[in-house]
């Protein structure tokens, strides 16, 4: 049997027994580790985004004696801590993609080889463009969301982790493990100013992603007659009709 999320979804949506036995279909989608990760990750991104913006632009000058102040140092410290949290979370999330349920794998790939996938992406585009009258039902992410997740979140986060640690290695020095692991970034871009610019653009990519992510989650929760926001808290997706 095809174990892909789409296939599971299809079964859910058209299962006559389920809809006959109860009006409301419920599927367990987001397992506890995924939900925990989601919220820790969201908090880390919030901290990273704010502190990162200040690191990139500087802050208004702090009055008083230099020796009494360490604000910019603390902002950078918080950025680095949140960066470690995000990275460890990302690694554990990859681990969970391997051992977790099929939905846990969804954000790490795009089934570009599957024709039906692209047909369904097209349907989702039509749905969001107000052309299609009814949305299709999916237990986890819909095909368009999967596409956005993969490029705007998964790849963007990986890019931020790699460039972030490369820049961090400039402070920890050429003998640090950070430099040994991520120093190759400077073989591609010898001038680290370029890496900073890229890292900064990455911030805005993730801000843009967050906007779309939160909007569509809330919207689908209301319009598509299925739970979205509560699903990432309690794990279950409820189909309300």
């Amino acid at each position: 049997m095809d174990k892909s999320p789409q296939a599971l979804t299809a079964t859910v949506a058209v299962d006559p027994v389920r809809s006959a036995s109860s009006e409301r279909g419920v599927v367990y989608v987001y397992e506890a580790p995924v939900r925990l990760w989601h919220w820790i990750n969201a908090a880390a991104i919030l901290v990273l985004g704010l502190s990162g913006y200040f690191i990139g632009n500087g802050i208004p000058t702090i009055p008083g004696k230099t020796g009494d102040n360490f604000l910019f140092g603390y902002i950078r410290f918080v950025h680095f801590i949140a960066g470690y949290v995000l990275t460890l979370g990302f690694l554990l999330r990859i681990y969970w993609a391997v051992v977790g349920n099929p939905h846990a794998k969804q954000i790490f790939y795009v089934p570009i080889w599957r024709k039906s996938y692209w047909r369904e992406v097209w349907h989702e585009i039509r749905w969001y463009a107000f052309v299609a009258a009814e949305p299709k039902k999916y237990a986890a992410h819909n095909p368009l969301a999967q596409l956005a997740m993969f490029f705007m979140f998964t790849l963007a986060t990986a890019f931020m982790i790699v460039t972030g640690f490369a820049l961090y290695a400039q402070g920890t020095g050429n003998d640090s493990w950070q430099y040994r692991l991520f120093g190759w970034v400077f073989s591609i871009r010898p001038n680290s100013q370029d890496v900073r610019t890229g890292h900064h653009l990455g911030l805005w990519m993730i801000v843009t992603f967050a906007l779309i992510h939160i909007y569509t989650a809330v919207r689908e929760d209301i319009v598509s007659r299925q739970s979205i926001v509560s699903s990432i808290i309690f794990g279950e997706r409820e189909f309300r009709d």
Binding site: I62, N69, Q170, N174, P190, Q193, H200, L201, W204
Partner: protein
């Protein structure tokens, strides 16, 4: 042409310098290289026994600021390096020979010291139009460079021109000026970037090679680790102001007078690998940040093409307009935000009309 087999010690004694002064020099050099007390006697021993290294110093597309810097070295003195430590057999701007005489030295060195001489290159070769934008001795410089590199022991790429390309390789680079390591690929190349490099860094590097008979340890970019393993930022004396969050906001504000951090004035110290904040310039007198001006990042790749020297965020030209990451990011996020708002409004409107429609049908 000088006799290259003569030792450094022989030369220095011939010049009437006492053995005491010689040992003083060795101690000073060992100290400036950070080698510890034992190294002084090793240096002395090496300079007494080893023949001087023949050096060919060539000039491509460049402004000679590297040479200008080099002749101002204080530790060791330039004259000691050129007249005593190395056998500088060819360097067009400062050599006595000219014309065919000068060119003959190149052939002679190639034949006599095959695989033993050091080729120091200041500037870089332009490759466009067959290298016709830089003619040296009647031939394109690139041909001369390739020929002399063939039999050299190692190549020193002096300055940002030779290391990265510098101003002549800045966009759009009409002459196709190309750094040395993109032209010569089969020889060890030491990059000594900087526009110009620090005088003491240059002479200390020459001293290292003549003393130990080998090249110093290089980093990923091919720069000697002893001078390029830390950023200006890491040893900057204004770093406490950075950590405290005290920044200069305008050139003549109170913060500038207080000597606060120049981060917001576009100082490239955090991205620039060089020894300025440790070694400083002109016999340790000062360096740009100490003089109240941010670092240009002159020893970094493509520093001419990173927008204004006074911008914190680099302008990105790929988008057709000049904008920095924040402007582009905010525009993108703003556009998406507007789209989201519009989409939400349409969704709400459709739901309302849809409900009304359903209600009307039921009635």
């Amino acid at each position: 042409m000088g006799e290259a087999t003569e030792t450094f010690y022989g030369v220095i004694r011939r010049q009437g310098i006492t053995r005491r002064s010689f040992h003083k020099f060795c101690s000073l050099t060992a100290t400036s290289l950070g080698l510890g007390s034992l190294a002084a006697s090793q240096i002395a021993n090496a300079l007494e026994t080893k023949p001087r290294v023949p050096v060919i110093w060539m000039h491509g597309l460049e402004c000679t600021c590297c040479s200008e810097s080099f002749i101002r070295s204080a530790h060791p003195l330039f004259k000691d390096v050129v007249l005593s430590m190395i056998s500088l057999d060819y360097d067009a701007p400062i050599m006595a020979a000219a014309g065919h005489q000068a060119e003959a030295i190149l052939e002679e060195t190639r034949a006599k010291y095959k695989g033993q001489y050091v080729l120091a290159v200041e500037g870089n070769p332009p490759l466009n139009e067959g290298g016709m934008f830089c003619i040296d001795g009647g031939k394109p410089f690139v041909e001369k460079l390739r020929a002399m590199a063939e039999d050299s022991m190692a190549i020193i790429a002096w300055g940002t021109c030779a290391s990265w390309g510098c101003v002549q390789a800045a966009k759009p680079n009409p002459t196709q000026a190309t750094p040395i390591d993109k032209v010569i690929t089969n020889k060890p190349i030491i990059k000594v970037p900087g526009c110009p490099p620090i005088a003491e860094v240059m002479t200390a590097l020459v001293t290292f090679i003549t003393t130990f008979g080998k090249l110093p340890e290089l980093d990923r970019q091919g720069r000697p680790k002893m001078f390029y393993s830390q950023r200006i930022h890491d040893k900057c004396y204004r770093r406490p102001h950075f950590d405290a969050g005290q920044f200069v906001e305008e050139w003549d504000d109170e913060s500038a007078r207080q000597g606060y951090c120049l981060y917001k004035m576009g100082c490239k110290g955090p991205t620039t690998y060089n020894a300025c904040s440790a070694v400083r310039w002109n016999d340790g007198v000062s360096f740009p940040i100490q003089s109240g001006h941010g670092c240009f990042g002159c020893s970094e790749d493509g520093f001419w093409d990173k927008g204004s020297f006074y911008d914190r965020l680099t302008t990105i030209k790929q988008f057709g307009i000049e904008a920095n990451a924040d402007q582009i990011g905010m525009a993108a996020a703003g556009a998406v935000g507007l789209a989201v708002a519009a989409h939400a409004a349409i969704t709400a409107a459709k739901r309302l009309t849809g409900k009304r429609g359903r209600v009307a049908q039921e009635e």
